[in-house]
Amino acid sequence: MKKAKKAALTGILAALALALGYLEFLIPVGIPGVPGVKPGFANIMIMAALYLLGAGEAAVISAARILLSWLLFGSFTSLVYSFCGGALSLAVMLALKKSKAFGFVGVSVGGAVAHNTAQITAASLMLGSGYAFYYLPVLLTAAAVTGTVNGLLLKAALPAAERIVKSNAK
């Protein structure tokens, strides 16, 4: 892939990731009694970058999305939580993908579990209390569900995205 094309694709995926994150912010798809759980659709774009481009581009997209959504509608604490979640999630997804032992769903669920675990750990450290961990079972179950959904969505969308990327390759 040409350098300019790579840059353009990185930009498109970053914009889509930001838009999907914003959509969740506008229309909270929460479950009553289970606050704070989000589907994490933006991760579909991070994973698409992981498969179409590479780890570096995926990291750039993840960081850009976190910074921009923080500037647009976040607080400082949310920035810290987001970075912890984003970094560990990407590391785990990269490891699972490299192992070649898992499909899209496995990579996606692994990323979601890592994201939620990192955020609750960061929250416990910042609040100086381990009690936030009582919420871990809820977050793990949510990660299994949202991770599976996102993995299946990526599996459905990636072949089409690959075709578009390749058809314009000169």
């Binding site: 929460g30 009553p32 009694g33 606050p35 704070g36 607080s75 604490t77 949310s78 939580y81 070649k100 032992a101 898992f102 499909g103 899209f104 769903v105 496995g106 669920v109 692994g110 579990v113 929250a123 910042m126 609040l127 100086g128 209390s129 381990g130 009690y131 936030a132 961990f133 009582y134 919420y135 871990l136 079972p137 809820v138 793990l140 179950t141 990660a143 299994a144 991770g147 599976t148 993995g151």
Partner: protein, 117 residues
Amino acid sequence: MKGNAKRDLILVASVVLVAAALFCAFRVSRGEGTAVEITVDGKVYGTYPLDDDREIDVDGRLVVSIKDGRASVVSSSCRGGDCVRERAISRAGETIVCLPGAVIIRVTGGGEVDARV
């Protein structure tokens, strides 16, 4: 890819199993609570008995209501308002956490576990 799909399924199943095991472990270790401890920025703000109905303004950040032996957040100045949507808590060890406000509301007493998870 067949083997991968199988491993994906095993991964998802293990995550759900771990969650269920943790949930049961946390549940069993909890007795009925006696009081509510409110922590702000990591420091104890106050402790209030659960059998005493009242509303507590926590540092202007949120309002906690204690009613019929259960504590809940009735309003919050934070943006998300996740803490307001949390269910009321009454069992020892149960918590409501407001991340933006750095407030933790925790039920104490009963068969509370000393160990911090």
